[in-house]
């Protein structure tokens, strides 16, 4: 039966090709868009993942996402440290602030102040200099992507042309003098403003005067303690919001998806891929069935049961679906590789593959249900008609 099914299917090359191409196209649409969507949403939490030393993020209860600054009182740090199950806790400053580069280029950047003593909250990779260099006078660390972008010296210094900001360059941060001592590499983020790292105490000194200055408390839970439980205890003890890294990630993602309409936009494209898939598959399968109507009728006359024909067409549809899915996924993966290299967010996770497979499966089931009715209702007596 399987051999018969496949030979029938493959016997008509053009039609088979059309069916597979249609399904591959639908797969491509669904999985590529879903991958870009996944990539985008993952980037909304790059910051949290880059700051991997901490288990818990403690912040104001009204904070909605990673860039949302609702400062808390500095005594929060002591209170968090007092909660059972907290191994250590450090302060973090994170706020938008005005900077002016030496050539006069003005930018809004995110100034990040990390704990002076432990340097916990540092960027994941240093390309130039060492993180400890932050302890030098007026020291700041900048990001490798930013120095070619937002922190580029666009006007050039002393008559020289534009160039990337580098170690040794000075930056004016809110009228305070700072000097670049290192270049770090962070993951690509959803947000695009440059990030400048310094120590917590220096950040607080550079920042505009405010009653409250601390943005987050980062905490590590004791070995063996359950982060979720400790987070609940911290929240209860401080009256602040306390999230595990994953919890904060979900909060940020959810907020950004809601605010930007990203979910709806990608959802529409993914649905479109699905609809195209259904239509193409239905049309092609329908053609296939109509084309083979006489053959199916003859087979019925010769003793093929409805069950047999059902299995026959199912094998044909399943085979075409697997081929289409494979080709579509392949093209999506390869094109995604290049998209990623050109800087676009693209993450083809297993979820995406499963979504694509499920999408194509449903496409084919719908399409098959539509054309199989025709096969089942076929009257074998038509074989005697001319």
């Amino acid at each position: 039966m399987i051999r018969t099914a496949l030979e029938m299917l493959l016997g008509d090359r053009a039609r088979y090709f059309g069916l597979v191409v249609g399904l591959a196209f639908a797969t491509l649409l669904i999985t590529q868009q879903a991958s870009i969507f996944t990539g985008f949403t993952e980037r909304t939490a790059s910051w949290i993942r880059d700051t991997g030393q901490a288990d818990l993020w403690i912040m104001d209860t009204q904070t909605e996402f990673t860039e949302d600054r609702k400062p808390i009182q500095s005594n929060a740090l002591q209170r968090v440290r007092g909660v059972a199950g907290v191994e250590w806790a450090v302060p973090m400053y994170k706020a938008y602030i005005q900077v002016r580069l030496a050539d006069g280029t003005r930018r809004n950047v995110r100034l990040v102040g990390i704990d002076d003593a432990t340097l916990a909250g540092a960027p994941p990779v240093m390309l130039e200099g060492r993180i400890e260099d932050l302890r030098q006078d007026r020291a700041v660390i900048v990001d490798a992507r930013d120095v070619n972008d937002a922190l580029r010296l666009t006007r050039g210094l002393n008559g020289a042309g534009p160039r990337p900001l580098g170690v040794g360059d000075r930056i004016d941060i809110n009228d305070q003098d700072a000097v670049v001592v290192g270049v770090a590499q962070r993951s690509v983020e959803f947000f695009w403003d440059a990030v400048i790292y310094t120590t917590y105490s220096r950040a607080v000194r550079m920042a505009p005067r405010e009653r409250k200055l601390m943005t987050f408390v980062l905490a590590k839970v004791s070995p063996g303690a359950d982060p979720e439980e400790v987070a609940q205890r911290v929240a209860a003890a401080t009256g602040l919001a306390a999230f595990t890294s994953q919890g904060f990630e979900d909060l940020s993602k959810g907020f950004i998806l809601r605010k930007t309409g990203i979910l709806e936009n990608f959802g529409v494209t993914i649905m479109l891929g699905f609809v195209i898939g259904v239509l193409v598959a239905a049309q092609m399968l329908h053609n296939f069935v109509v084309e083979n109507q006489k053959s199916f009728a003859a087979m019925k006359a010769m003793g093929a049961s409805n069950g047999y024909l059902l299995r026959l067409v199912s094998v044909q549809v399943g085979f075409a679906a697997v081929m289409g899915l494979g080709i579509g996924l392949g093209i999506a993966a390869v094109s995604g590789h290049f998209l990623e290299q050109s800087g676009l967010a693209f993450r083809m996770t297993w979820d995406v593959v499963v979504l694509g497979a499920a999408g194509i499966l449903v496409c084919c089931l719908l399409a098959a249900a539509f054309s199989l009715r025709r096969v089942l209702k076929l009257d074998p007596a038509v074989v005697f008609k001319g």
Binding site: R3, M8, G11, M302, P380
Partner: protein, 234 residues
């Protein structure tokens, strides 16, 4: 004439449609068909020939009357049982052949065996044996569309016979062929189809092939109006 009775029917009726547009295709057919004989069914267009063989072969249901085919009554079966019964007992040569264009010649011929549930490999081997007997061995692997009309007709005959059915029904097997090819096809059909345990029913308009018949039944307006047994001359 002592051949066993293969098919027997009495008062067979069948109509299509209803109300004012009703068509009485069969108006009471009484008939005995013997195994080991070539029975020709002739008559003007629309007289009910196709309807009759459709019922005899278990494809179409009758409205009234009695029917026994090899002692069985396929009318009493469920649709599923009838399908299985056809798979084991009936071979067909359709007027339009209905070879599956995307399947190879040997695969087409093997179909009735595959539909009976035989393993594909064995079905193919048998199909090739039958094709060899019909001098089509070298065509086994190609698509039917690449064959001449006469060759396609022989493939259709191979397919009708591969599973050794007890009843072989052919609807206008020669109408699309010229005189010479029609003659050859009938020769073949009679030589391989006439077996003591098999009934061969051929519907035809083609007077050129009457000489192959053991018996000719003439239909008119839904009834058998003439039954002539001939002495067959090989």
């Amino acid at each position: 004439m002592s051949a066993a009775v293969a098919i027997e029917c009495r008062g067979l009726t069948r109509s299509f449609g209803s109300g004012e547009t009703i068509v009485q295709a069969l108006r009471g057919v009484d008939l005995q068909i013997h195994a080991g004989q070539v029975t020709l069914l002739v008559g003007p267009s629309g007289c009910g020939k196709t309807t009759l063989i459709s019922i005899l072969s278990g494809i179409l249901r009758k409205d009234g009357g009695e029917l026994r085919v090899f002692g069985e009554n396929p009318e009493s079966y469920t649709e599923r049982q009838r399908t299985a019964w056809r798979a084991h007992n009936v071979g067909f040569v359709f007027q339009t052949l209905n070879l599956v264009p995307t399947l190879s010649v040997e695969h087409n011929v093997a179909l009735p065996l595959i539909l009976q549930g035989m393993a594909t490999r064995e079905a193919f081997a048998r199909a090739r044996a039958v094709l060899a007997a019909l001098e089509l061995a070298d065509r086994a692997g190609i698509k039917p569309g690449k064959l001449s009309g006469g060759q396609q007709q022989r493939v259709a005959i191979a397919r009708a016979l591969v599973h050794e059915p007890r009843l072989l029904v052919c609807d206008e097997p020669t109408s699309a062929l010229d005189a010479e090819n029609g003659h050859r096809v009938m020769e073949l059909l009679v030589s391989v189809g006439r077996r003591s345990n098999r009934a061969l029913v051929v519907v035809t308009h083609d007077a050129r092939i009457y000489s192959f018949a053991d018996r000719i039944l003439r239909m008119e307006d839904g009834r058998i109006v003439e039954d002539s047994s001939l002495v067959h001359q090989p």
